[in-house]
Each structure stands twice: as C-alpha cells, then as structure tokens.
C-alpha cells in the first residue's frame, strides 16, 4: 500500500508502507529493512538525482520524552563528517518530517555482512578478510578522528556488490571528549560483540572496537559469533572469562594467520589486543597476500562464497576484482589499505627507519619530523609492528593533548596534573627481555597549559631511561616543543624528507612489484610515466598513492600492462577513481600535448635525457619530403 505524501505527519503510521512519500528532496522508492530504531528506505534524491538511504526513526517526536531525535541524528552526522573516510557510510542530512525524524545517508548497493552470512553461510577466508580489512581502515580513520564507534558488528558493515565495504551506524559513537564523561560508561552496543571491559562497566576505547571487529571476523568466518548464550548474563560471563574459541575448530581449513588475527583481536585485556585498528589492517593484508600467493590452497574453498550479482562487463574502475584480473595483484596497491608496505620500500624510508632505531636506542628520546603525506605515520606503525614481537609498543594517534591520548592508549587514567607521572610509571613497569617499552605519539601539536604534562613525560623518559619516547609531527614540531619548554636537540631529530624523482620511480616500481602475485606478468612503466608521477606528486606519499592507483585503474580499463605518461597525466588530473567511479578518460589522438611535452622535456633534461620526440607518422615523413 502506498500512502499519500504527508501522511506520517499525523497520528499512528505504518512506517513500512510509505513508498512514494516525499521527505524534502527524497522520494521513498523501496523498503530496505527495519530494526529496533526504525525503518530504512531506498529513496531517490530528486535534486541531486542519486540513490539515497533514508533511515526513519520509529519514535515520534511526542514519544521522545522531551528529547529531540534530530539532535541525535545530527550528532551522528557530525561524527561521520569528522571522519570523512570512503569506507564510512556518509550522512547527507538529518531532518524532521511532521511527527517523525529521518536521516539521509549514502546508499550502498549490496547488503550487510550479517545478511551475507545469513544467506550464504560462512564466508570464504578471502571475502571475510577483505571485509574486515576495509572495516579496520574505517575504524582507524574514526579513531584517528577521536571517535569510538561502540557498535561494530556484521549488521553495521555494508558490503557492496563489488566487495567494497563501508562501516555505518555511528549512532552509538562517542568522541574522546565525551568518553571522559559519565555517559561513556553507559553500556551500549550488541552483546555478542561487546568487549570485556564494557561488560565491566568501563568506558569504551579504540581497543573495544578492535575486540568487536574481532568478534565480527569470527562470525564472518564461522557463521556464528564467538560466544553464544541463552541469556545476557551467560554471554557476559563468556566474554569476561571463557577462553576465546579457535575459529579453526569450526572451520579447520582456515589458515593459521586467520585464527591468529581473531585470537589477538579477542584478547580479554585491551593491552593484549592489537594496539590499533591499523595493525588489524596490516595482518588482514598479510592474510590476503598469503591467499593470493597460494590460490590453489584450501583457504578459498573452506566455505561457500557469498552470492554476488552479475559482474559488470567492463572492469569497474579501481575495484579490487578487476585489478586482480587485469594485473595479477595480490592486493590493491597504493590504496590506504596497502600503504603499510610503503615505508619499507627503498629510500629514504630504509635509512630513516635505521636512524630512528639507533637514536631511540642511544638517547631514549627522538622526534620524527615529516610533512603531511610524507609517510611518517605509516613508518611509525610499521616500526611498532616490527618491534612489538620483542617489547611493548604503543602508537598513539588522533587529536588532543599528547599525554591524555597516550594515557587512553596505554590504559591509565588521565588524571589532571599527575597524568605524565602515572603514565611514565606505567610505561616503566612493562620491561621485557627484548627491550624497553616504546611510546610513539603521533601528530604532536601545541599543548595545553604550556605543555607541562608533555614536558614532564619527556623529562621522565630522559631521567629514568626506563622507556623510549618518540614524538612525531610536522615541520613545526621542533618550534612547537620549544614553546612548551622541551628542548629535544638536533641529534635526537630524524627528518623524513619528500622523495626525490629517482626515489619516487624506485618506490613506485617496488610497490607494484611487491603487490604482484608470483605468476603474474610484469607491469611496465615508461620512464616518462615515472617522470610525470614525480612531477605531479612532488614526492608526497599520499599523492603518489592516489595517482598510482588511478594509473592502474586506467590501465586496467584498457587491459594494458604498460603505463605511459598519458596514464600518469590523466591519473593526476582526477580524484581517486576507486571511490567515485566515473567515466574514465580516453587517450587523445595526439599525445603528448604541447604543455605535457614541455613538462616531459624539462624532466628529461634534469635526468640527462634528450627531449621527448614529437609525434611523427609515415604520412608526416612524406609531408616533410614534399
């Protein structure tokens, strides 16, 4: 039944029968689902002509007991806007229509991971890991923005028809600031996926989200959550005390690496889990690479693959599947999820890493300075991963006072005036045979209260030598620390410079080679393509990633394995195609254009090569003769 527009404005309403209704610019097209909070419709945005998902709250304004549901929705929308990540479902608007409130958000053509498992059973290792990898990227972005999701579960992961996964429903999320208030301890979320500390009534942290992601992975791989129970009390006890079940008892042919990821993410103590979601990403990447390296192995056949709609006849721009098919890539190169390998590929990363380790060992304190996009955060993450087998390492990202963030990461209270003291005491206690604990604080900026807490922490690191401290920031880090009265000194400063042209070329080649499966034919770059990459990116890692991925998307759409200056130039003119597929450009009849030829000539001159030859055909030759 279709109700007439405006009918929900009055009286009792069947929210599942509103097809055809217009809410602002949105015309409801089809009911997608219903839950505790309300219903979700597919709608058409008649202004922007795009499909949109509309979540309509089942409570009427009158039932909200003085609260304004629009404010809740807006709070969620603002959280998501702060994250602004392609793997997070975007929110377009929140508004009231008559007696009900709705939120308009990005429509993901596909289904939730929960529905996927419900319809197809346990997912294959590749599909499940791919979902978790993308969810970890979204969580990492959220945590970096200072936001804890608090309700990570399969139902909140939307899996698109091309395998692209997005994390949605930040309705339960809280920012770090709110987490320090009383509301943070209110238990929310879904019992099957809740971390032990939440059951104990403690505030949620990034580690709680990692636990929920681990529980989600468990369910994707096995078809059931890690703990089951007839009632909530049983579930609570299981999360608090029961040993973490081994996924391989339910799916024996899964690789050991899958089981290891689940086990670490589901550790009872937050300190024993992955230190951050980005570490989950790294391990998920390794699993993907492992699967790619052994395509005939048993991991792919462990469970039925999810049902998919018919694949598009033309490779979807940037979709992992078509790229794999076209290039034989073990994982998607250049994208954020794969960038973890970057700081180990060639210079200057190798020497910077060595200098960092030597400085920390010698001085106990170091700073890492690099521009935005230089790869400094990735370098820290990889360094931490490398060292974490032998000693305790914390990598602290996000915004806000450095010591407060560090306290949250380490798991000690950020008590005013005593935070640095408590933190250094806690760090000093965690000695292991492999070395002193290491605390890495990223994005250090101007500190509140003159930076007293950070100054005390630095002093403790120098005085006690019981832990190592690495402060990471942009070019202004040195002067910023000086304003806080912290003199680090040149011998403790390690700089991560932008890559030069030769390093960019070596880096791009190494990255693609590392991403290729063993049997795949090579991907060949022309020297001029690499000149363009260097020229258009100026060595900024993030920019290289975007441009490089676009080049591969473009070449994949042409079924070419040879990348030329045209691919590089066209790729640098656009935003990432993977996230916003549009019609890809086509090569012009004449290449290079005069402006590009001038650029190529300049690059070639710098490299000691002759100018780029101008276009010449047999016909031209004859014309010349005439």
């Amino acid at each position: 039944m279709t109700q007439s527009p405006g009918s929900i404005a009055t009286g009792a309403t069947d929210l599942t029968a509103l097809v055809g209704l217009k809410l602002g610019n949105y015309r409801l097209v089809r009911l997608l689902g219903r839950g505790r909070m309300g219903v979700v419709y597919l709608a058409e945005d008649e202004a922007l002509l795009r499909p949109t998902a509309i979540k309509l709250l089942s409570w009427s304004v009158a039932e909200a007991q003085g609260h304004d549901p629009v404010k809740w929705f807006l709070a969620e929308a603002r959280m998501v806007a702060r994250i602004n990540h392609p793997k997070v479902v975007q929110i377009y608007a929140a508004a009231r229509h008559g007696n009900h409130c709705y939120i308009a958000m990005e429509y993901v053509a596909g289904q939730s991971a929960e529905a996927l498992v419900a319809s197809a059973g346990p997912l294959s290792c590749a599909v499940a890991t791919n979902i978790v990898l993308q969810a970890a990227a979204a969580l990492h972005a959220a945590h970096s923005a200072g936001i804890i999701h608090r309700d990570v579960k399969p139902a909140n992961l939307m899996v698109g028809d091309d395998g692209s996964t997005k994390l949605g429903d930040f309705g339960m999320a809280l920012g770090f600031a709110e987490l320090r208030t009383g509301t943070a301890n209110v238990r929310v979320g879904t019992p099957y996926y809740q971390a032990p500390e939440i059951w104990r009534g403690q505030a949620a942290t990034a580690a709680s989200d990692v636990y929920s992601l681990g529980a989600t992975y468990f369910q994707l791989l096995t078809g059931r959550p890690p703990f089951a129970g007839a009632d909530v009390a049983t579930l609570e006890q299981a999360h608090l005390t029961a040993p973490t079940p081994d996924v391989r008892e339910l799916a024996p042919r899964l690789p050991a690496s899958c089981a290891a990821l689940v086990r670490r993410a589901l550790a009872k103590l937050p300190r024993d889990r992955y230190p951050s979601a980005v570490e989950v990403m790294h391990d998920a990447e390794r699993i993907m690479a492992e699967i790619g390296a052994t395509p005939s192995g048993n991991t792919r056949d462990t469970a039925p693959a999810p049902r998919r709609r018919q694949a598009p006849s033309r490779p979807g721009p940037g979709a992992p599947g078509p790229l794999l098919a076209s290039f034989g890539l073990a994982s998607r190169p250049f994208a954020a999820v794969d960038a973890a390998t970057a700081p180990y590929l060639g210079e200057p990363f190798t020497s910077v890493r060595k200098r960092l380790l030597a400085t920390l060992e010698r001085e106990g304190l170091a700073t890492l300075v690099g521009a935005v996009g230089s790869g400094r955060s990735l370098l820290c993450a990889r360094l931490a991963e490398e060292l974490s087998d032998r000693r305790r390492v914390w990598v602290v990202g996000g915004d806000g006072p450095a010591v407060t963030r560090a306290c949250e990461a380490v798991g000690v209270p950020a008590v005013a005036d005593e935070a640095a003291s408590i933190l250094s005491q806690r760090l000093s206690e965690d000695q292991r045979p492999g070395g002193r604990p290491l605390l890495v604080i990223d994005d250090v900026g101007v500190e509140p209260a003159g930076g007293r807490q950070l100054r005390e922490l630095v002093a403790a690191a120098r005085r006690t030598r019981a832990f190592e401290l690495l402060l990471v920031g942009d070019e202004a880090l040195g002067p910023t620390l000086e304003k806080s009265g912290i003199e680090v000194g040149a011998r403790r400063e390690v700089r991560l410079p932008p890559l030069d042209a030769a390093q960019i070329a070596a880096f791009v080649r190494a990255w693609v080679d590392a991403a290729l499966t063993p049997a795949a034919p090579p991907v060949v770059f022309s020297p001029d393509a690499l000149f363009v990459v260097a020229f258009r990116t100026q060595g900024v890692l993030e920019r290289i990633g975007l441009l490089g991925e676009n080049m591969l998307v473009l070449a994949a759409s042409e079924h070419q394995r040879t990348l030329t200056s045209w691919h590089a130039w066209a790729a640098s003119d656009r935003e990432r195609w993977h996230d916003s597929p549009t019609d890809l450009p086509r090569r012009p009849a004449t290449w290079p254009t005069p402006e590009v030829a001038d650029v190529l000539d300049a690059c070639r001159r710098a490299a000691g090569m002759p100018p780029f030859p101008r276009v010449k055909t047999n016909g031209d030759d004859r014309a010349d003769e005439e």
Partner: protein, 104 residues
C-alpha cells in the same frame, strides 16, 4: 645513429621506435605508441640480455619474433634499441640487412 626516416621508407616497415636500454623513447615513426613500445622493449631486452648471458651468447644483438600477419625485429646496438614492425613477416631478413648495411 639509426635513421628512422630511411628505415620507414621501406614498404615492409610499418613502424619503427628508437629507445634506450632503460625504455626511454628517443624517436618513433609510423602509427605506433612509441613510448609504450620503448618501455616494453626496454623491459624485454633487459630480461633477454640476462638469458643470453646465462646461455653464453655474448652481448644481446637482436630479437625477432613473428605473428600470423606481422613480425617484429628488435636490434640492440650498444645503448640504442631499435624496434620495428615488419609486414609481411618474411621480410624480417631484408629489414635487418638494410639496417646493418646503412641504417646506422
């Protein structure tokens, strides 16, 4: 230096690309994406030079291969690589003789 203009006057030569060992394009003639051909040839000659070394062939001089309709001749002279597309394939020897006789 190999003169592409002279070479592409031969009716059997459909295109010619001059490049360096690293795959950098130096010159091209005919209906061909010279930059892409140079890049692939640079990769190919590098790989086959290694193979030749293992077989004890001495420095790489030429590679020829044929398809149903056309053939390609790749000549390596020091740091210079010449890649030609020849039609019909049977004309490969003629082209090589021409290059060796006066094309360089």
């Amino acid at each position: 230096m190999i003169d592409l203009t002279t070479l592409t006057r031969l009716p059997q030569v459909k295109s010619a690309v001059l490049s360096d060992a690293a795959g950098g394009l130096r010159d091209a003639s005919g209906n061909v994406d010279g930059e892409a051909v140079a890049a692939v040839t640079g990769y190919l000659t590098g790989a086959l030079a290694d193979t030749g070394d293992r077989l004890g062939l001495g420095p790489l001089q030429s590679i020829s291969f044929s398809g149903r309709d056309r053939a390609s001749l790749v000549l390596v002279r020091g740091d210079v690589v010449l890649t030609t597309v020849v039609e019909p394939a049977a004309a490969l020897a003629t082209v090589e003789k021409t290059v060796d006789a006066g094309g360089e």
